[in-house]
């Protein structure tokens, strides 16, 4: 009896052990049915700031200069003058150059980028005039100095120019050359001899 009991107990232990092992094995073969899978997610965000980039003239920190030289050629001397009379009823689109010595016929490059919707551009001249000491040449918007192309170049001291954005809110405008023309015929009375200067500041902004 005791012998049988030991034998049966041993069998029981073996059988129960096999059953336990079988259960564990089934678990490791869990994928025999549907397969194992696990998932996880990651959120990513890109934050884009509102920006407006405006460049007038050469890249970098230059402040380009354009000038008109109204000195007739040949220069007026105390000899008998045989040259042409300094123009007073015509524009002076010539003799224009920038400060770094690259004559470009008054052409100033322009670029405007914005990612913030409709952008406006304004041009304001210091003192609203060309100044030489106590003397000045008032700038009458659209008369004293004209600007082209009118599609991109705002009138100095005139109304702001509006640039519509595309469907995505982007404004990208550029021009290979803004041109500026001085109209001495509109200046009355004629200014005294001298060098008249001003600085035009362009400001781009979004509403």
């Amino acid at each position: 009896m005791r012998h049988n009991l030991k034998a049966i107990l041993a069998r029981l232990l073996v059988i129960s052990g096999l059953l336990c092992w079988g259960a564990g094995h089934a678990q490791t073969h869990w994928s025999s049915g549907a397969g194992l899978h696990a998932s996880a997610s990651l959120r990513l965000a890109v934050v884009v700031p509102r920006i407006v980039i405006l460049r007038v003239g050469h890249p970098g920190s230059f402040v380009d200069e354009i000038s008109w030289d109204a000195t007739p050629a040949p220069a007026i001397t105390d000899a008998i003058y045989n040259g042409s009379i300094p123009p007073d009823s015509a524009t002076l689109p010539y003799a224009v150059h920038d400060t770094i010595g690259n004559p470009n016929n008054g052409m100033i490059s322009f670029k405007l980028w914005s990612n913030a919707g409709t952008t406006i551009l304004r041009a304001v001249a210091a003192n609203n005039a060309l100044v030489d000491g106590p003397n000045s040449i008032p700038i009458v918007p659209g008369q004293t100095i004209t600007t082209t192309p009118t599609t991109t170049n705002p009138v100095i001291d005139g109304p702001a120019k509006s640039f519509a954005a595309n469907a995505q809110g982007i404004v990208y405008k550029q021009s290979s050359g803004w041109k500026f023309v001085y109209h001495p015929d509109t200046v009355s009375p004629p200014p005294a001899a001298g060098t008249y200067t001003t600085v035009v500041t362009y400001t781009a902004s979004t509403p």
């Binding site: 009896m1 049988n4 009991l5 049966i8 107990l9 069998r11 029981l12 059988i15 129960s16 059953l19 336990c20 259960a23 564990g24 089934a26 678990q27 490791t28 073969h29 869990w30 994928s31 397969g35 194992l36 899978h37 696990a38 998932s39 996880a40 997610s41 990651l42 959120r43 990513l44 965000a45 890109v46 934050v47 884009v48 700031p49 509102r50 920006i51 980028w113 990612n115 913030a116 919707g117 469907a167 995505q168 809110g169 982007i170 990208y172």
Partner: protein, 203 residues
């Protein structure tokens, strides 16, 4: 079975013993191997922190003066478990699986969408603008940028009976990832968000 036919004084003991053995069986058999956090877990993918409190987020702050320049923008979001410049930890745990090949794939088919619609409307950023580098090459090593599609293979491992794992940890494929945004688009201002789903499969 022979012991069931035994009809002696130890019958009660045997039945109790056998009953205990039978009761113990379902404990392991019923474990949900898919449940995150379960010690019995067989396959697990973690992307981000170790807190398991939800989906982690990382962001790319584009400098205004570099917008659209093509200079990549690195995410500076630091999640729990980061390693230096590698801000996101990814871990694939594969415990005691039979032979076969496990695969880790990404679904980035839904692009990042504008969430500040007043400024960026319906503009989207495709996920193929997001790339990464890994610290060790132990995970995410099979690609270096999202495809913008589903089922992109990032990692795979073949398990054999001759390569038994650590019985406690199984096979662990861990790495640390630095994500970058390509920044080659002149985008409308705003915030764009998207979600990538990573999936590990062991067929």
């Amino acid at each position: 079975m022979a012991f069931l036919l035994y009809n002696g004084p130890m019958k009660r003991f045997f039945f109790i013993f056998f009953a205990m053995a039978m009761v113990s069986l379902p404990v392991s058999a019923s474990a949900d191997v898919k449940t995150l956090g379960d010690r019995a877990l067989k396959l697990r993918i973690r992307v981000g922190d170790n807190l398991q409190t939800g989906v982690n987020s990382i962001s790319f702050q584009v400098p205004g003066l570099q917008l659209g320049s093509g200079t990549p923008v690195v995410s500076t979001t630091t999640l729990d478990g980061a390693s230096g410049i590698y801000k996101v930890r990814v871990v694939l745990d594969n415990r005691r699986l039979p032979t076969g090949t496990a695969r880790l794939t990404a679904d980035s088919s839904t692009p990042l969408a504008c969430v500040t619609t007043s400024t960026c409307g319906a503009t989207t950023i495709p996920f193929n603008k997001i790339s990464w580098s890994v610290r060790d090459g132990d995970n995410f090593e099979l690609a270096s940028q999202f495809s913008g599609g589903a089922g992109q293979l990032l990692h795979q491992q073949t398990v054999t009976d001759t390569s038994p794992p650590d019985p406690r940890k199984g096979w662990r494929y861990r790495d640390y990832v630095q994500f970058r945004y390509a920044n080659d688009l002149f985008l409308p201002a705003g915030s764009y968000r998207g979600r990538v789903l990573f999936r590990a499969d062991h067929p």
